[in-house]
């Protein structure tokens, strides 16, 4: 790791102030990706501003079907929230399968979303749940937030403070893990609202990151059942090919994971 300077913020305001004084500052949430990247010398921030001790960024509130999750809430806390489980068990289940127990104790929902790893789980949930990404300066619809591989709509120095969404009537997430890294080789989050609106978001497979699959969505809007997926064609041309899986195989996994997610929702 290259030299860096560490700062600990106790409020969002302080964090923004700290980073504005840095040459090339970066916010540090759970650090489960950032520290690993810095260890490999692939990132070299001059300053790190630790968000883990900002009380206002933690916690889960459920109001009717409205959900708000503080950005510094760990995967473990999302996975084990009884209130959240009652309205949207799919996101608890998703969080309980991120990384491993130790990663879940440190990693945060805000950190994961801000990083937008193309194989991360949360971005699929955000898109399918039509979530709002709340920052220190504005609110961004998930649809506008994820802009490419490791790219988001966040401005420099902007902090995600929370995410908010309306719990859907039905939802589920299914992923097929990469046998080595255990990240999603393909993960599909499905959500259906009472008005019949269906969203299907895919992570781990797209060569441009997380995306919604319109074909699946319209098929499932017409017939919310695993069988409806059978005749949907998945175009492999925009999917990733790597050491572990070809685009064609990922296209197959999108269908299979969608089917299974619908069955589980």
């Amino acid at each position: 790791m290259y030299e860096t300077n560490y700062h600990r913020a106790s409020s969002v305001q302080e964090a923004v102030k700290l980073i504005s004084g840095a040459a090339e500052g970066k916010y540090l949430a759970g650090g489960m990706t950032l520290i690993a990247t810095m260890k490999q010398r692939l990132a070299a921030p001059s300053d790190l501003v630790d968000l883990r001790h900002i009380a206002e960024m933690k916690g889960i509130t459920v109001n009717g079907r409205s959900v708000r999750i503080g950005a510094a809430t760990t995967h473990h806390d999302v996975a084990s929230s009884v209130e959240l489980e009652a309205v949207c068990p799919a996101i608890c289940a998703l969080a309980s399968h991120i990384g491993d127990p130790h990663v879940r104790h440190m990693g945060t929902i805000g950190g994961s979303i801000a990083n937008n790893d193309p194989a991360a789980d949360y971005p699929a949930a955000m898109l399918a749940l039509d979530a709002t990404i709340v920052t220190n300066s504005r609110e961004i619809a998930a649809a506008d937030f994820f802009t490419g591989l490791f790219e988001t709509a966040l401005n420099d120095d902007e902090i995600i403070t929370a995410i908010a969404f309306e719990a859907p009537a039905k939802a589920a997430y299914r992923k097929f893990p990469n046998p080595a890294s255990r990240y999603a080789m393909t993960g599909v989050f499905v959500a259906r609202r009472d008005n019949g609106d269906v969203r299907v978001a895919v992570t781990g497979a797209g060569s441009n990151g997380v995306f919604r699959h319109q074909g699946m969505e319209s098929a499932l809007a017409g017939n919310w059942s695993p069988d409806a997926v059978g005749n949907v064609s998945v175009d492999a041309s925009d999917l990733m090919t790597d050491l572990h899986a070809s685009a064609a195989y990922r296209a197959n996994l999108i269908k299979v994971m969608t089917k299974r997610a619908v069955a589980a929702a």
Partner: protein, 782 residues
Amino acid sequence: MGVEGIGARVARKEDKRFLTGKGRYTDDMSVPGMKYAIFVRSPHAHAKIRSIDATAAKEMPGVIDVLDGRQLTADGIGNLICGWMIHSKDGSPMKMGAWRPLADQTVRYVGDAVAVVVADSVDEARDAAEAVVVDYELLPVVTDPVKAMADGQPQLHPEAPNNLIFDWQLGDAAATDAAIAAAAHVTEVKIFNNRLSPNPMEPRAALGIYDSGDDHYTCYTTSQNPHLARLVMSAFYNVAPENKLRVIAPDVGGGFGSKIYIYPEEIVCLWASKRTGVPVKWTCDRTEAFLTDAHGRDHISTAKMAFDSSNRITALKVDTIANLGAYMSLFSSCVPTYLYATLLSGQYDIPAIHANVRTVYTNTAPVDAYRGAGRPEATYLLERTMETAARELGISPAELRRINFIRSFPHQTPVIMNYDAGDYEASLNAAMGAADWNGFADRKAEAERRGMKRGIGMSCYIEACGLAPSSAVGSLGAGVGLWESAEVRVNAVGTIEVMTGSHSHGQGHETTFAQLVADRFGVPIDSVNIVHGDTDKVQMGMGTYGSRSGAVGMSAVVKALDKVEAKAKKIAAHLMEADESDIVIENGELKVAGTDKSVPWFQMALAAYTAHNLPSGMEPGLKEGAFYDPSNFTFPAGCYICEVEVDPDTGRTEIVQFVAADDFGNIINPMIVEGQVHGGLAQGIGQALLEGVHYDPDSGQLLTASYMDYAMPRADDLPSFKVSTSNTPCPNNPLGVKGCGEAGAIGSPPALINAITDAIGNNTLTMPATPEKVWAAAHAAN
């Protein structure tokens, strides 16, 4: 057996320190003034070094010095060597190219070390290593061994035209060809044995300490055989004369073969310590381990197996190309030859066998012995061929094996080995019983109803361990003898130290070797200490690999115990005025048989050291040593059965049961033997299902350089195993033991692939059977 004697399930003496964080591994060692080394490594797979400029690096904070290969060469440090001479079938010796500890002219694989930075901290050393400017002239790259042999390909070493190291054969080609021509049926199979990274969880490390006062060197290192490291570093690498070099392998966190070899880094740490005047420690990170630890396997073979009309095997013909990487590692030449082709008879009576093996240089990391070393390659080839033959011949895989089992011993195979004992039908029956083989059809039908494809596969393996005797391996090209040593030192208070040349890096020797002593003298194992891993404390020894510690290392202890027992009885007889032949040793006492006269063990020991009252002419003291050279290998064998369910939608394979029935001869500690089998199975299953080293063929870049891309078996990839043992004692060593360390890794891959191919109804599948490959093969079958 006593509660702590031979055959007892004794909990391990060494566990407490590991469980409480008190294990002492090389990276835990710290000495005053110690500095840290980081290696500058080639980012290119093949290049000439035009120049190295360390001017800027030397000016960076904390940097003590930057040293490169030209300085190392100027100081007379020698080439790394391969210690086993193989001759090609035309009689020419193998073509060994030069391997410099720090490359001074050419780099031949990504990770080849070119310089070393010594600095106050690891971070500072790494900062400076990035500032070392190496000017490379890029050369073309070849990673594929078949391609490497063709004309016009990049040449790695001038000594080896077409990158061919040797073209070797074993067996009778004419008889084999004749039998194939006359066969009722010939099964032909193409076999690929994937390249693996051993991945002991403790990365390699070395701490070199030069003491200018005594002109003496100490090396702490992650070694399976510290004495061999000392011998090789002194005799071949000119680091220091043996009497001026102490090598200590403290607690070592797994080896699996990869820590047999003497690597550039420990040589460089010792040399750099003298050059800089400070102790120098280097600790490998995981990516460096993937790049530079010797890999395993990487064979491409074809096999032709001939059968007569009653399904008896009449011949086996094998052609193998083995990729040895960029340099010949220490034992790389014997793995695809004497540890491979000699096992091609398996458990079967095969009248004619011929194997041809070509070994090839490529721009990849060196390949050497990895758990099983040659025997997994032979077993995989043979057991995939047997399974394929059974399918072609339309008979059950068990029946085909039964027809061909060797049933009388000793049995001379056509490929050197003389099997001493075994009962292959017994382990086959045990495995089939434990797996409920006959109930499989019902389970398959039930799985079918859930949309899953269920398959079952078996593998009957044999292996040879305790490589021996020294004179025989010498005649086959080995550069060393393969005996083992022990010294048993009874202290004046009766406690006992055993110095062994074997080295434990997870095998539990501190417990099992102590059990031998407890068994012999009836003393508690807590009064016995096993000392190993330090060339200053232990007499010359050959270390631990090839499942040799039981069959060879323990046999040396037994020989030394024989001598101690004889002298102890003489002393006791003298003290009790009895006849030596009437003395028996039981429960820590020396008794006169048939009387109530006895001397406690400690009292006899005290008498040996006070020497006030010893038999006339007897030397004081009680300490005996022995060197044991076995008369033959031992031949563990067994049958493994794997049952899987394949999800046809995703190609994911779940192992629903794995049964291992092994014959390891007599067993010292069943708990430890079972643990060895479990671990071996996990590595074999890892090879078959998950693991594979991949290089980019154009650039020679390693694509699987971390756990992000190299799939290690995790707990949820594996089932709980059903293991059992049967016993035909080995007639060639005093304990009747065979080796158990490698069997699991040898026997399991073909069982798993046989099961998956059975499930999906497609026999073409290569390891590792990744979900995508299985999915594609399952769909191709439909």
